[in-house]
Amino acid sequence: GAGVSQSPSNKVTEKGKDVELRCDPISGHTALYWYRQSLGQGLEFLIYFQGNSAPDKSGLPSDRFSAERTGGSVSTLTIQRTQQEDSAVYLCASSLALAGGSDTQYFGPGTRLTVL
């Protein structure tokens, strides 16, 4: 079946604006993860969803970042009042893992965010 998809593939915004990034996981995958990849920090975990709940938000860098997941499927990562340091590639991954477990994660192509 289809892999993880993300949209948009590229987003350029001005400092201070809000942005929404979307992730469509592999059908049937209950676990969904957001990561970001930046030159200075490498690949970092942001947030984990099991179904529609987010039991681990420990990687969100500030309260300007939030995410939700609806219907156990699509997830949206929202960044409010964007700053230049938010520029990065935002990656979404999904897996079959049940709550508390770990399993192979499959990654989407990412959204490249540039904040001017």
Binding site: Y35, F45, V89
Partner: protein, 111 residues
């Protein structure tokens, strides 16, 4: 938190050569994955290997969990193997599946 270190940071090979990439981790893990990030940025699964040895074509991986390291072997390298190879672990202390990534090994295979 757990530390994940990959070596070497950069590697240049001639096509046809073999190589070994290493991943050391500082604490127990629930799982370990190897990824290849291609020049377009896509992270491609290579292995899910919390322990033991697996092989897939020209690639194989071995994880020795008790000694906290994993090795990725690439044989008869091809130019399409170029890119960044990441090791990522799910810490043993975690009750979610989140992955902690190493800094990667950048591989360039020359024709």
């Amino acid at each position: 938190g757990i530390q994940v270190e990959q070596s070497p940071p950069d590697l240049i090979l001639q096509e046809g050569a073999n190589s070994t990439l290493r991943c050391n981790f500082s604490d127990s893990v629930n799982n370990l994955q190897w990824f290849h990030q291609n020049p377009w940025g896509q992270l491609i699964n290579l292995f899910y290997i919390p322990s033991g040895t697996k092989q897939n074509g020209r690639l194989s991986a071995t994880t020795v969990a008790t000694e906290r390291y994993s090795l990725l072997y690439i044989s008869s390298s091809q130019t399409t193997d170029s890119g960044v190879y990441f090791c990522a672990v799910n810490p043993g202390s975690s009750n979610t599946g989140k992955l902690i990534f190493g800094q990667g090994t950048t591989l360039q295979v020359k024709p």
